[in-house]
Symmetry: C2
Subunit: 244 residues, 2 copies
Amino acid sequence: MTDAGIEAAAVIVLQNGVDLDNKKRYTEALVCYREGLQLLFNLMKGVTDSEKKKYLRTKVEAYMGRAEKIKGLIEEQKTMGKYHEQILIENDSTGHSYKNLFGRFLDDEVTSVEVEDPYVRSFHQCQNFLRFCELVVKSCCNLNKIRLLTSRDGSVKDQTQWLETMKQNLQRYRIDLMIEFSSTLHDRQIKLSNGWTIKIGRGLDYFKAPESKFSLGFFDMDLRRCHETTVDVYHIKDVKKSYG
Amino acid sequence: MTDAGIEAAAVIVLQNGVDLDNKKRYTEALVCYREGLQLLFNLMKGVTDSEKKKYLRTKVEAYMGRAEKIKGLIEEQKTMGKYHEQILIENDSTGHSYKNLFGRFLDDEVTSVEVEDPYVRSFHQCQNFLRFCELVVKSCCNLNKIRLLTSRDGSVKDQTQWLETMKQNLQRYRIDLMIEFSSTLHDRQIKLSNGWTIKIGRGLDYFKAPESKFSLGFFDMDLRRCHETTVDVYHIKDVKKSYG
């Protein structure tokens, strides 16, 4: 990328950070500030003009200061058990893969994950859950347990077999998949053992179907259109570190 | 992530960078150095102990210096038209999605992409090409042309229809997909208009089949096992900026 290109990208990413910051979507803002700072940082290395260098250094310091402040705010609200962030996914919008939506909460402190979602039943819903498992396996190197609480559908005869295949597969990664069924379940939430809880109004099934098996977005969910849904992210103070 | 966790991650990433650097796999080493530096950078912000801070600053400066040197080396060899990097993908190894393999060469300078691969014919091969298209669409914001040169297989009756669907789909992103067929094609290469050429011995089809539709790695190709193949990356001096 050219220097002008890097600078233009930095401006866009940082502006996005400011917008999210203003909306109090702090964890997302932090991701943007970090990415933007990395770009400014790369840019500075190539700049020889001292005025330009000084200007960039001022920018870097300002954004670093704000990023630090946000980090403090998040920690403070987490400690008080008050952290809450809300994201609206608009109808037909794109860019909302599981990784983009909550990948920033997945880290090496996550040892177990609990998914409550009544609709992990049909073929595409079980495949959504597979995508979810792929993401947590890659993002949480200390993960050893996934608990899925969902409901049974008598008409979907292969649900148990699909989930059983995933269970066997996850064992190769030394991860236990515990599958439980409930007929009264209504809540949809993903609880991580590092204290973060993600509640997606529609659960994991908020993507629209692809038009064909050769449509862009068939594999990459960032390119897939979404149904409207609201996402609430909380941090729970008293973290239950293990289940069962 | 805890500070100790960030530090441990930084050590692993930077060590990986040094290994790649020693093997003269410079563009990959650069990615590792940048990631590792970002981790050290995040770590430093939280450190109050002045000795520790000083130690980290020395590390940051050393790796930044090496990263700058590598950047210079790559540029120099690119200018001379001599840049060549070789990667061996081992049998049954994982972590080789298209993004991991050549994502670092995709940027906003890429306006056209040329794929020569005799085997974009069967269902899964055309789906591989779809994954490739998804990646370039997301990574190259100025892309406006993809040229695919492949061969026809009389027994695969839907090849034309699948590729045609992708063509229509790409038009929504203002990208022309030009499909050409050759019966004498033997070379397999991906040419980017920013000068990089990636030659994969097996072409795009170097992934093993998943065991089932619910195996980890069905969607995320970083988790998919690979066939053995060699990848050569060149930078061509006289860049042909457009095709056709």
